[in-house]
């Protein structure tokens, strides 16, 4: 729903997928041009076979988002229990809609659909996939590089830009004996500041664009509408693919008796009545919860909702991501970058209200904060 707030953001997942494919190719080519032999070792492949691995990676990059439901992240919870967009990606790649096309070209490309599908299996132990997948799905991947830059161009903001050319040029294969398999994607010391810039670009894009107050409101209305209609997306591929953005918008157009549908069609979303800081602390969180309970008791719950926007700007602490220093040694990224180490996750709470009661709700919040000595 970003284009409801930033009108330029009319770009689609297709353009993004082409971009991820391009970045993935650039990363692969960088690794090869730096040291082909170490890449051959990581993939247990001969020089001649590298092009086939490159092609696998490109197809996985192109298809990495194919399983997303309409309006993607907003409607993840409308999926059947146990189903995620990653699992749907796997199913769709294996279906006739995709697998037949990949297999039909395999004489030329050397790639079978099943080899692409492997990238999306939940707990693969294929060492080649384990090496390649972080290029498109990791803490420093082609996916983030593309969406940050693409979204900042199309929304017209400055925040998502970073020196992607230097970042790609700094990536390298790290041989780490403690690591299973031994070879992983890492970065040279000279690229640490470019990596920090990407992490900060994410922080800014989340706080300024993805978690924009109006954008989040439309997401809430969308989910509200789907829930009110009793809709669950089907798990079965053929049926699932019938659901696209247009079908959801058509649904909204046809139900102008529903408050969420009306908010979407008439572009009159519930307005923010209160927000906590980008990095809400423990005490603020507890106070917000009390406040929200009180508000629900006092006002018509049909005219209200609240939002919890949470996101870590990175999760490097959960993985082993190494920097190769100028003196040849290895350090974890968090030891090399205080920005990576210190940047706190975003955690922001909001209360939204229908315009008819918004000023009352705001006044209620003001009094509550004053009486309880809270500063949001």
């Amino acid at each position: 729903m970003t284009d409801y707030v930033y009108p330029g953001a009319e770009h689609t997942r297709f353009g993004h997928s082409l971009g991820v494919m391009q970045f993935a190719s650039d990363i692969f080519d960088t690794l090869r041009s730096k040291d082909e032999s170490v890449l051959m070792k990581a993939l247990d492949a001969r020089s001649d076979d590298l092009n086939v691995y490159r092609q696998r990676l490109r197809l996985a990059a192109l298809l990495h988002d194919v399983g997303h439901a309409p309006f993607s992240h907003a409607s993840e919870e409308i999926l059947p229990t146990g189903i995620t967009h990653e699992l749907q990606t796997l199913e769709i790649i294996r279906s006739k809609y995709v697998a037949d096309i990949i297999d039909a070209c395999s004489a030329t490309t050397g790639v079978k659909a099943e080899q692409v599908a492997k990238f999306f299996e939940p707990r693969t132990i294929d060492r080649k996939v384990l090496f390649l997948k972080p290029i498109i799905d990791g803490e420093l991947d082609a996916d983030k590089m593309d969406y940050l830059i693409r979204d900042s161009i199309f929304t017209g903001v400055h925040y998502g830009k970073f020196d992607h050319e230097r970042l790609v040029a700094s990536l390298c294969v790290i041989e780490n004996s403690e690591q299973q398999g031994g070879m992983i994607l890492g970065i040279e010391e000279g690229g640490v500041h470019a990596l920090e810039a990407l992490v900060l670009a994410r922080y800014f894009m989340f706080t300024q664009v993805y978690f924009h107050r109006a954008r989040r409101a439309y997401d809430m209305h969308l989910i509200g509408l789907l829930k009110d209609m009793g809709i669950k997306y089907p798990a079965e591929v053929e049926k699932y693919l019938e659901w696209d953005d247009r079908k959801v918008i058509d649904l909204a157009s046809q139900h102008n008796d529903n408050r969420h549908a009306r908010a979407i069609v008439e572009r009159k979303h519930f307005k923010e009545a209160l927000h906590t800081p980008d990095h809400t602390n423990g005490e603020q969180r507890r106070c917000f919860q009390f406040l929200w309970k009180d508000i629900c008791k006092t006002f018509d719950s049909n005219k209200l909702f609240h939002d919890e926007a949470k996101k870590a700007s990175h999760k490097f602490s959960r993985i082993d991501f190494f920097v190769r220093k100028t003196d040849g040694g290895l350090s974890k990224i968090e030891e090399m970058s205080k920005i990576v180490k210190d940047l706190a996750p975003i955690e922001q709470y909001r209360i939204y209200a229908d315009q008819s009661i918004r000023s009352e709700v705001k006044e209620f919040c003001r009094v509550f904060c004053r009486d309880n000595g809270i500063l949001f």
Copy 2:
């Protein structure tokens, strides 16, 4: 169909319309800040009323393209006889879908729907409209400024860029006693090079993007499909508005027995077999016509089409557009700019063929050119 060739070009007419509204406002504000009294004279209005004229202009800018059929220019010929997209714009603004909204806000804005509609009447003699309309629809208008820049950003090419800030800042009201009404939009001498740059940006965008060989092929397939289906867009507003891009693409998806539908859905357009230069001269045009006749006799006409891409980069010769020189005098733009004067219209012919016969057609063309001593 531009995004079939330049994948970034997924932007819509809505974003463009917002942009034209912005540029129109900027132009109006420039004229006011330079000399409010001359603007008051041109509009026969008091200072307090200028904001209302500004608002009329903004609404006309926002709505200037509302009457376009799906895929706009490509499908103009599917409109009923005597109907143009300009006339449809007029009808839609007067319909309940638009007029009711404008009139509902008129207490605040001071603008009635009929005052906006006036901008689109074919032969208006309203002097205020005659003064304001060239701001959104003239040889140097907000429409061109926006689409050239917007399209160059979204396609990722460099060609459409020009110094739009300087251009807007150079616009002025010219008092020309020979002109009916006397006051018209013109430009100061210091902006002539920025105007030349806009004219050249148009030339480059047409030759490189809008007349791109693959883009034109998809346009031809689209029209071919609509004609094969026997479709004429309805003139009546309610029915007309049912036709959007999606409805046309759905039509293509449902008729995979039609060669044009297949070309669109499978993205396998007829390929270019021959093209004449950007500025085809008279002799080349005649030769092309002979060649095309011969080809039609020789090959299966279902596997062929030809294209005529024609566009003047400007039509300043048809209007009075004046430059106010640094010494205070007036000159016509064509006297001040050899580039404006000399830039020839684009005129390019192409032959397209289905892939199955393309190399035969190319060879046929080669032999024809050799035998007739023609160089395209």
Copy 3:
């Protein structure tokens, strides 16, 4: 010396000064257009007088750096005891070279040289100056805005860019009863992320450009040369102004027997043998000091130097800088921004050695680190 490392960085202090004047004007105009009456109150001035204060501010901005010695920061320690570049700025503005020109125009501008000089008096209590000076010399000032953007354009790096248009548009006058005088420059909540981006731009520009290893080496050679020559810049204005960059470079050209002069002229600086992280911690600092002592005992001190690069990316903790929140309340910037609060000062140590002994020094460092279990 930045252009020895980034060849595009050939811009001068003059261009920078014009830029600071422009940013200062933009900030003043923003404050006036938001609320002229509050600005009049802050300056205890009538509406008509505001242009004179604007002009004072502009002249102070244009002249703020006029007292810098050649190669500015690098050679601050060559100034006589008790003299700083700020004091020299004051002297120069009061001298005939500047004061005569300002006073000659005062009939037109309404500004006397002494009113501009007031901006640079060490402990002024002039409330108008106290209000205006932070616009050109504070934690969020026209000086930083210009040099970060200018340097990033001219060096060709991405790091110094931030959304300066939004940042300027977010500045406001804050009425704070606890504050002496009551009125100070602050920022609206909507500009906090733009402020964070400026703080981070500074962090990146310092780590990547201003503290670049080769750039720092040239600074050290420059100071070394001036000290070897026994040079102290004169305090007296007329003599002081004779010293410009060219005179220092000429000095180097004439003393090719001096190792520092040769390093500069032949562009063969001492090379880095070891560096600590951007944010050296206490233990690392102590270890570095031991290491440096050992190295000095072991190697020829004429072929070595060390560097201490320290810089806080901001000093908001030392001043009262307020954010006006969307609900009207005030908060200190550090309460509103975890990035401002958490960003640690840069502290990095380096050892440089002449190329003839560099590999020995590197090996010595490696052994020292290994034996003492230190990781830099």
Copy 4:
């Protein structure tokens, strides 16, 4: 003197030379990657030798402007009779200042100074040089690519930009049997619009920047000063190299009794009193000459000068520059591009006057034009 008008334009010939070296390398690498064998044939070299030719080209590119006098083009006429900056380039490369350095490295680079000097010999018949030299000095060369882009960045204007990446990528080796030697630099059809954009960038940069009225005035004052002082630059290399921009500016500072020196130092140049159009036609030229004669008779010639600014935006008509068409055939660029064919040379005349008599001169011009029925 461009930075007197555009303060950002403080960049130097050194940065430009690095840029030309880079573009020349990119062009060479493009030709090699497209078809190494045809490049080997053009240079009559084995694959292994190509790197040496690349290095020769790079050094020639780096040094191509080394013979320029201070303020380059402005002071060409202060050179001794028969001496040009190209001849001085040749002398300097052969002198100890350059040749010794190149020869000292020849064991590594494989390049001797004399092989670089060959690029600048007036009438060389060395076929390898004849093939390579147009890469740095031709109608479509690395020199123009760099200065147009560099100057537009540093002056802050938009005019000099074109799609240099596509342009470089479109260059190719053309085998033309009619040509002596047979192999020359040309362009593929797909690059014709990028070439047109470069030609137009030149046109705009000349009319807007290089021929800016104030910039030309400073050039005239500079030459006037040097002539008044009776200065001729020495032909002998050692003496010639003593003359740099600084020495000329110092000269101006020391002669504040000279009107030209004062104009430069105090930045008070003679002001434009009249200008003819960018493309003055024959009749306008004749009228201007009469007018100038009359003015010289009427006013104090010490307070006047006139300027003739002439430049062809390209000289493709003087050389054989071929386009390789998509069908494999060759055409001359002027047959393929109406813009190249039609773009007229710039020819503009100006009269400048000291501020004390400027308004009288303007009035004199106005009356002359009115009485003679001329429109400039």
